[in-house]
């Protein structure tokens, strides 16, 4: 009888946890560091670039497609503008559009995913069917259809890319949330009568953060790709203005003569997408490592 009142002391030393710890352990991985470095580097070019550019994005500086124009480090483009200056001006649009579209897609997608995972009724079915319909189009396809009708303005692009991001995020959120919904601590909260929205926000959502962080960086990567591709196909929000995707398309013809007009923006987009991809992968690995060290729990 005396045994039970013998107090049990914990064996393990405490250490803080939660999302902060996940990000911190992700940052310790080399690939996350490299990825983050790339992203920040390109981000810096895009944001600070316009201030550092020797010429404006549309200034005429010399003979088109020439590599020997003084003051033009990387030569001139197809209508005689300075490639380097246009390059420095050209990143911001893509980044802003991609970020906005991703945020939109995430917010909507997480909401839909959580609700359908928890509701488990008719609403669930209807919403997921709707998601299926949107998923039937490749992202760029839907954006093109919208552009064909309304024209390439920023809101159309953000809306189109954001709405096509939503079902993909919703699927991942739902997939991650469903096993959580089955867990007993959710039932425990229901048993004492915690309102449904609070259960979603404080019981379920924090437990799906890890896969969502990974998905967020993935979606950002694709959003950048799609928006740059749209520009490459000739559908920019501001025709003629400096835009990396547009630059690639404009200078493609002169590729044999003046490669820099294509190579610079291609390299920038490549580094940016690889960077976000590596960050996402780093977070995924850190999450898997934490799950493994927790053991079967």
């Amino acid at each position: 009888m005396a045994v039970v009142s013998q107090v049990v002391t914990p064996e393990v030393v405490t250490h803080r946890r939660a999302t902060g710890a996940l990000l911190r352990s992700a940052l310790r991985l080399r690939r996350t560091q490299i990825g983050l470095g790339l992203v920040l580097f390109i981000l810096a070019i895009a944001i600070v670039g316009p201030r550092l550019a020797p010429h404006g994005g549309n200034d005429f500086v010399g003979t088109p497609n020439s590599l020997s124009v003084p003051g033009a480090l990387f030569g001139t483009d197809h209508i005689g503008q300075d490639v380097w200056s246009r390059f420095l001006h050209g990143g911001l649009t893509i980044l802003v559009l991609a970020a906005a579209a991703t945020v939109l897609g995430l917010v909507l997608g997480i909401a839909v995913g959580l609700i359908t995972a928890y509701s488990r009724n008719v609403l669930d079915d209807i919403l997921m069917r709707a998601m299926d319909v949107i998923l039937a189009f490749p992202q760029i396809m839907l954006a093109l259809v919208a552009i064909a009708t309304v024209g390439p303005n920023p809101f159309t692009i953000i809306l189109a890319v954001g709405l096509t991001t939503m079902p993909r995020v919703a699927r991942v959120t739902r997939g991650a949330a469903q096993p959580v919904v089955e867990r007993d601590f959710v039932a425990a909260a229901e048993a004492i009568g915690v309102p449904r929205y609070r259960i979603l926000l404080s019981e379920i959502f924090p437990n799906v953060l890890s896969p969502l962080l990974v998905e967020a960086s993935l979606r950002l990567t694709y959003a950048i790709g799609v928006i740059a591709a749209l520009a490459f196909l000739g559908f920019t929000t501001n025709p003629g203005a400096a835009d990396w995707g547009l630059m690639i398309q404009e200078n493609y013809i002169a590729l044999t003569v003046q490669p820099w007009g294509v190579v610079l923006p291609v390299a920038a987009i490549a580094l940016l997408t690889v960077g976000t991809g590596m960050v996402g992968d780093g977070i995924a690995r850190a999450a898997a490592g934490i799950d493994r060290s927790r053991g079967a729990a």
Binding site: P138, A228, F235, A270
Partner: protein
């Protein structure tokens, strides 16, 4: 001893696999109908006047009226939709604004060309990625796996047009000059008559899809190799080759079918950009031009084709998954 209040469901539904396939087909058709509504709504049911948008500001009232008549714009929206949809079912997708000829005639050849490109890419990338993914899982954490993981990460992140342009710079224009940058197919010719011309486009598409399938294959295989039944097979004394072939691989493939389908459908989107880069005469290139020209019937038709392809591929993937996973069959 867990008593699972979730329940294993009621009595097994009747009919088994056949009913399931039928139900899936009906679901697919439903999605297609919904998709067609979306496509139609996105292109024709929006506010504003399509006729004016097409003809521009300088259009005369007479030409506007004529165009509206031609586009059935004076009919109620639902009627317009039904006209279009029934036309589709008969293979008639209207007339192209830009080319003034039936859409089906315009797209016929191009469809074949694109199908060929997709077929080549698919036939190469899928077996290749299954192979690479399986070996990466088998030789886990060893050099092959580490390198593969890095390479797939990079290529999964890169947009296809970046890959395509990089390939052109590398092999066609700037570094080496061994492959053509543009597919020059004479009118009436077929891409398979010019095999060298399709190397780079196919390679671009393969590089776009393989990384994803490799990753999912690896993950699936790793999970299977860690499973209890694979351990049990080894503890029974089965030779390793048998363990892999009979116990590991079939169970690892199940989850990958879905991803393969999604990625093949994704190729349908990637084809748009790739055909543009290489000036390949397929529906991707046609779509790009149509969008540029606001050629709505063409846009609608191609959207339906691509969506249809996606639905069919998903259907096949679901059926394949069921066939490979006996456990799911009794729940049908």
């Amino acid at each position: 001893m867990l008593e699972r209040p979730g329940g294993t469901g009621g009595p097994a539904r009747t009919g088994g696999i056949r009913m399931f396939i039928l139900r899936r087909i009906l679901q697919g058709l439903l999605v297609l109908v919904l998709v067609s509504i979306v496509v139609f709504a996105a292109t024709q049911a929006l506010p504003g006047d399509p006729a004016r948008a097409i003809l521009g500001r300088g259009a005369t009232p007479a030409s506007l009226a004529a165009l509206r008549e031609q586009l059935h714009l004076n009919q109620p929206v639902v009627q317009q939709y039904l006209t279009w949809a029934t036309g589709l079912l008969h293979g008639d997708a209207g007339r192209s604004f830009a080319a003034q000829e039936p859409v089906s005639k315009l797209l016929g050849d191009r469809l074949v060309n694109t199908a060929f490109l997709l077929l080549c890419s698919g036939l190469i990338s899928i077996p290749l990625s299954i192979l690479i993914g399986s070996y990466a899982a088998l030789w886990r954490d060893r050099p092959f796996d580490v390198v593969t993981s890095l390479v797939t990460l990079v290529f999964a992140a890169l947009p296809e047009f970046v890959v395509g342009v990089a390939l052109v710079v590398l092999f066609a224009t700037t570094v080496f000059h061994i492959l053509p940058a543009i597919t020059l197919i004479p009118p009436g010719g077929r891409p398979w008559e010019q095999p060298i011309a399709i190397i780079l486009p196919t390679l671009t598409l393969v590089l776009a899809v393989t990384p994803y399938v490799v990753r999912i294959m690896r993950a699936s295989m790793v999970e299977v190799l860690e499973s209890d039944y694979v351990e049990m097979a080894r503890l029974k004394g089965l030779p390793e080759r048998l363990v892999l072939r009979r116990h590991a691989l079939p169970n690892a493939l199940g989850p990958t079918f879905q991803v393969i389908a999604i990625n093949l459908a994704y190729l349908a989107g990637g084809v748009i950009v790739v055909e543009y880069i290489f000036n390949y005469a397929g529906i991707g290139g046609a779509l790009r031009d149509a969008v540029s020209n606001r050629d709505l019937p063409v846009v609608q038709a191609i959207a339906m084709i691509i969506a249809g392809l996606y639905v069919v591929l998903n259907l096949l993937a679901d059926i394949a998954t069921i066939l490979v996973t006996p456990r799911l069959r009794t729940r049908l």
